[in-house]
């Protein structure tokens, strides 16, 4: 037997051994038990939109994580209704409860009712013993995908190779093709968890010669499968950050508004090291921890708690990094910031505060007869409209029903109602009382609103039927 033949024989033997050790179909069948589909409804003034996401079970209490994009962060938690959890391949819906999102990891948390829990296995059961595996370039990885609802979320397997690992700022793996449904786990050959797939990076396909479109090229987005995943080391240690309330509070707040990245040329000009970068603070918000710490607009943050800000590719990841560092902490925590101001390098000591009430947390009321939703004026509204928080009064128009009386009068979403019938709307309660009085008075034929829109004002005369 020639020597080369011998080598080939050995090689074949080796391949066979690996294949036996990793019986992927069996591993897959076991690991499908940590995946679910989550359906819920987004309730708006005028419609109800069914929404679907995939999730991974993280504990024996039936807690499920969904990717950030599974829940639109602009929506108020009370608009999210009727959470149902489906076990792959089974059309039976189980009741789910939305627990809120964690701003640090970005995961959205849902809990499934007791009776489904025995059918599920937490993903932690498939974590490697000891250190989490860090996949290497070209390594073969596989994950789980779920078919659409019409097919009872039948599970299937996806397989690909790792082509790149990037800091975004979390360690993120990129595979050559889609490797799992977004929110679903990714495994290596041995069946150890290597990460959880993120929302699709927007994989696009050009499809030509679609008859229905006259042969024009159409672009298809694959939202059901993803080729991005967050590495287990950046997932597993933080799974316990289960929100205690739907608003995900407490939320740490610095108040450095509109951070901007810098490119390599700017960093070099500022004599930062090749591994370092910075973020420009566009504005320092009124009464914020940043303001109290003495931060000024146009300061450049170059280090947090003594740690120089790393250089990321692409540049804009630095913004996520800074926000991430703040989100990691809790209100009351101290944070030291090194900033460049002109030719000076300054150390600022901030005590993080609690994020002011967010738009999604603001109270709102829909007036059916008037055809619009009034929303409480919150801190962010004052920032957006460049007014002092103390000057904040009135209400914000959250929604205008098309062709309703206020729409016909020219009211638009995001208008700031300052006066109702010629008298100032002092605050939300005052505005509500007066709008209710108008809406509930069947004799009322018209009313007048003074609104501010992009710095201009308009007086709108609303005719009622």
């Amino acid at each position: 037997m020639p020597a080369w033949c011998h080598r080939l024989f050995l090689a074949l033997l080796a391949t066979a051994a690996v294949a036996r050790a990793a019986d992927i179909p069996a591993l897959w069948a076991e690991r499908v038990k940590c995946t679910v589909a989550v359906a819920y409804v987004i309730e708006n003034e005028n419609d109800r939109r069914p929404t679907l996401a995939y999730g991974t079970v993280i504990d024996r209490q039936g807690t499920i994580i969904l990717p950030t994009a599974a829940v639109d962060q602009r929506l108020a938690p009370q608009q999210l209704k009727d959470f149902k959890v489906y076990i792959p391949g089974d059309p039976t819906p189980y009741e789910g409860t939305y627990l809120g999102g964690d701003v640090f990891t970005g995961w959205q948390y849902v809990r499934v009712e007791e009776k489904a829990r025995s059918r599920l296995v937490p993903v932690t059961a498939f974590a490697a013993h000891g250190a989490n595996p860090v996949p290497v370039m070209t390594e073969e990885l596989w994950g789980i995908g779920l078919r659409p609802k019409e097919e009872d979320f039948l599970p299937y397997i996806l397989q690909s190779h790792l082509v790149l690992t990037q800091l975004l700022p979390e360690r993120t793996g990129v595979t050559q093709q889609e490797v799992a449904g977004p929110g679903l786990p990714v495994f290596n050959h041995a069946g150890d968890l290597v990460g959880i797939a993120l929302s699709s990076g927007g994989e696009t396909y050009m499809q030509f010669s679609q008859g229905a479109r006259g042969g024009e090229a159409v672009i298809l987005f694959d939202l059901e499968e993803s080729s991005l995943f967050q590495l287990a080391d950046d997932v597993l240690p933080y799974l316990k950050r289960i929100p205690t309330n739907v608003n995900g509070r407490p939320l740490a707040w610095l108040g450095a508004f509109s951070l901007e990245p810098m490119d390599r040329d700017v960093a070099n000009f500022l004599k930062l090291s090749p591994q370092a970068s910075g973020a420009v603070v566009s504005e320092v918000l009124e009464n914020s921890p940043a303001e109290k710490a003495g931060m000024k607009a146009r300061d450049i943050i170059v280090a947090i708690n003594g740690q120089p800000i790393p250089h990321f590719r692409p540049d804009h990841v630095v913004i996520d990094y800074v926000e991430h560092e703040i989100a990691r902490d809790r209100p009351g925590d101290a944070m030291s910031l090194t900033v460049l101001r002109g030719a000076d390098r300054l150390e600022l000591k901030a005590t993080l505060g609690e994020e002011p009430k967010l738009v999604r947390e603001a109270d709102r009321t829909f007036f059916d007869r008037l055809g619009f939703t009034a929303r409480e004026f919150v801190y962010g509204d004052a920032i957006a409209r460049r007014v002092k928080v103390a000057e904040a009064a009135g209400v914000i128009v959250h929604y205008v029903r098309p062709n309703g009386p206020t729409a016909l009068a020219g009211l638009q979403t995001d208008d700031w109602i300052q006066e109702i019938d010629g008298a100032p709307a002092k605050n939300y309660t005052d505005a509500l009382a007066r709008l209710f009085a108008i809406a509930n008075d069947p004799q009322r034929r018209e009313f007048v609103l003074l609104v501010s829109r992009g710095g201009d004002t308009a007086i709108l005369r609303v005719k009622l039927k």
Binding site: S258, D265, V266, V280, A343, G422
Partner: protein, 434 residues
């Protein structure tokens, strides 16, 4: 087949005035400098104009001849071409005044006629009018139509290449065919009197043309002859038609105008005038802003006050009537001085006080990027039109001259320059590299 057309008026051809008018209409060729693409470049345009006097004054549109013009040539009715210069322009009314090179006219023994203004307030809808001009370069084109509306009002902000226009006048509307190139030409009655200066039309629409009324033009011409520019007053109020809100504000009909906008930091704002106030009178003269068509004259009555004058505004606020003393400022355009910095491939426009006010910038520091040249340092660094450059090498950009100095230093000894710019309230840094 022939239709027996009844003679509805005397044919224009028989009017001496009309013949003379035709000899007073000129074609205007303008070479002007533009800074919008990161470089200085020249562009050519064609318009029309009308000679107003024997000493060679020509009235045209501000959008035909602006201070950016570097060369103006006028083609007289006898087809002779003569140079001309800009006497002054007023973009607010879209009018500009030129003067023929009279030395050249005398030297070459050229002759031309001049036109007379008519009274645009005496026009009536349906009256026959003629537009004369150079549509699409077709010189000496006469089109006929009628006055469709004597006081056309345009809602919303109009502009000429970014310059504000139209706040202080209404327009004559006509169905005489108006095409690009007609701009600046006269709209005349059958006796050849100029009752308007053709200014705009809806492209693609059928026969919707607009002209600046002669009575507005007469005042502007007099001002431009006297001072080379028109000085107007500004107090920062924007009136809105009351339409049928009189009842809501407990007002008699045809009384007052609703102030729907007060510019932040303007004289009116500083005096305490508020949005929602009803302006009843200016210096004791009653204001009637019931309909939108009545708003430009109100604006004009404020603008016509001497700069620095103190106006007594009678204001109704709720049940009270009060008087505010408001001292006017000079009206400024939001469009500042422009320039191009070719080594950077960057075109900018100075931030004016009006621009800063409109865009809620803290002050008038900085220059607005109006264009970048692809592949040049500004473009490569990431600057884009709409950015406001606030500092260069950490020095605040307070004037175009300051930027010129920095640019000259860059051109003489190329070295990276640090630019700080604001875009949608976001402050970012850019390095312009040689």
């Amino acid at each position: 087949m022939a239709l027996g057309a009844a003679p509805f008026s005397a044919p224009a051809a028989v009017s001496r005035g009309f013949t003379q008018l035709l000899d007073a209409v000129v074609r205007i060729d303008v070479q002007q400098v533009a800074f919008d693409q990161g470089t200085r470049r020249f562009e050519a345009s064609i318009g029309s104009g009308v000679v107003l006097s024997s000493d060679g004054l020509i009235l045209t549109n501000a959008h035909v001849a602006s201070p950016q013009a570097v060369e103006i040539n006028v083609t007289l009715s006898n087809l002779e071409r003569v140079g001309a210069r800009l006497v002054g322009w007023d973009h607010w009314t879209d009018l500009a005044l030129l003067k023929l090179d009279m030395d050249e006219v005398r030297r070459r023994h050229l002759a031309f006629a001049h036109a007379e203004f008519g009274d645009s307030e005496k026009l009536f809808p349906g009256e026959t009018v003629f537009a004369v001009g150079t549509p699409y370069g077709l010189a000496r084109t006469v089109t006929r139509g009628i006055i469709s509306n004597t006081h056309r009002y345009f809602e919303g902000d109009l502009d000429i290449d970014g310059y504000e226009t139209g706040m202080f006048n209404t327009w004559l509307q006509t169905d005489a065919a108006i095409n690009p190139g007609n701009s600046g030409g006269p709209l005349v009655t059958e006796d050849g009197r100029v009752i308007g200066i053709t200014s705009r039309s809806y492209l693609g629409a059928s026969n919707l043309g607009f002209a600046i009324p002669a009575n507005v033009a007469k005042v502007v011409v007099a001002g431009l002859v006297r001072n080379g520019s028109i000085s107007r007053s500004y107090i920062g109020v924007e009136p809105t038609a009351l339409q049928d809100l009189e009842h809501f504000y407990s007002l008699a009909l045809n009384t007052g105008a609703l102030l729907s906008n007060i510019d932040a930091g303007s004289p009116a704002a500083r005096a305490g005038v508020k949005v929602g106030d009803i302006l009843l009178a200016i210096n004791g003269s009653k204001v009637d802003g019931r309909f939108p068509e009545q708003l430009p004259p109100i604006q004009n009555s404020i603008a016509s006050q001497p700069v620095g004058a103190t106006l007594g505004l009678t204001i109704k606020r709720g049940p009270q009537t009060m008087t505010f003393a408001v001292t006017t400022e000079k009206l400024e355009s939001s469009v500042g001085e422009e320039g191009a910095f070719e080594s950077w491939g960057l075109s900018v426009r100075k931030v004016s006080r009006a621009y800063a006010r409109e865009n809620r910038l803290p002050d008038a520091t900085g220059v607005l990027v109006i264009g970048v040249r692809p592949g040049f340092p500004a473009d490569v660094a990431g600057l884009a039109a709409g950015d406001v450059i606030t500092t260069v090498n950490r020095q605040p950009v307070t004037s175009l001259d300051m930027l010129k100095a920095a640019h000259e230093a860059f051109a003489a000894k190329p070295a990276p320059a640090l630019f700080e710019a604001e875009r949608d309230r976001r402050v970012a840094l850019f390095i312009l590299k040689p």
